[in-house]
Symmetry: C2
């Protein structure tokens, strides 16, 4: 499907995502999007209720793609420990390979978040459910020692997001190699959850 044949709706989404990533939320305007896709500003309202809904659609699409990426990453692995790490690496890989799509998920930030229907957001979070089930498996196999798998799952997710967001927002010290930073962070996070191996 060539660029010409893409539906206007799809072109609007692509253009919005790109503007959002390159120029930020506050300078994203309906008229600018419209000009880029070669339509009038009001045409956008034929496909999206308003600016918020347009962005919410972007978020949902990204969350869906991220979920798929995580599931694929874990599907090939057999052992619980491998699955555990595969989910984490799948998450990070998706984020680093698709910064535009990843960042859109967290772009509507905390305070603005009230406008986004949380329920909808939660429902799609299949990757989270997968991680939780693997953690439960890990506990039953004695790999981890955790009282609350739900908390652990959220904690891992939060830590990973923190690591990625520091890299992607370019808050990382320029002397630090990004890949090394990510790799070491992953290892620390993983180690923080595994049971200590005692040498007798």
């Amino acid at each position: 499907m060539s660029e010409e044949e893409k539906s206007l709706r799809e072109k609007i989404l692509d253009t919005s995502r790109h503007f959002l990533f390159t120029e930020g939320y506050s300078s994203l305007s309906m008229r600018k999007i419209a000009k880029e896709v070669g339509a009038s500003a009001t045409s956008i309202y034929l496909y999206f209720e308003n600016k918020d809904h347009l962005i919410h659609t972007l978020i949902e699409e990204s969350v869906e793609e991220l979920s798929v990426a995580i599931e694929e990453s874990a599907s090939q692995k057999l052992s619980t420990i491998d699955k555990f790490e595969a989910i984490i690496r799948g998450y990070v890989s998706f984020a680093m390979a698709n910064p535009e799509k990843y960042q859109v998920i967290y772009m509507v930030l905390s305070s603005e978040m009230g406008r986004y229907p949380k329920e909808k957001f939660r429902k799609v979070r299949r990757g989270y459910a997968l991680l939780e089930s693997v953690i439960k498996q890990g506990i039953s196999e004695g790999l981890m020692e955790l009282e609350e798998p739900k908390i652990a799952t959220y904690s891992i997710w939060a830590q990973l997001h923190g690591v990625i967001s520091v890299v992607q927002s370019q808050r990382l010290d320029s002397r630090i190699d990004k890949n090394k930073f990510i790799e070491e962070s992953i290892e620390h996070i993983v180690q923080g959850f595994l049971v200590r191996i005692t040498t007798s």
Copy 2:
């Protein structure tokens, strides 16, 4: 100093911070701030070059306060391990006790970040420097086994921010107790960096 006697500049800052926290960035307008402080919109430009600079001032103030809080938290501790944990808990405590001030630091998000002079931001980050020095100390004492203290420092900071932002942005599952989540996350993060204690 009563509310009346506060300088207009200070009132603008307080009002902006509050609006930013309660209603978000995109609905923060100069006219709204002005109305709240009882002045004309253009009066704000007497104290701040523009809207961006106003927000940057808020960020700088918050970063400064956070640095002080961290330093105070660590100052009473004697052992390296206590200092290490005190810095981490100082960071989290400040964030949870002053959500308005903490969130403003990360409110100007990734994509918008280009407009904020990174150098200035880095310079003030004294808390970071303190953590790095404690980690170096920890390495020399054999508490930690890390090749790159700089990376470890950033990683901890990133993980902590991830944990706090998940809580404050209310992305956390409602069934999870916030304090428990924070406490367990801290423990996991700390454990992820300490050398494994081997029982013989």
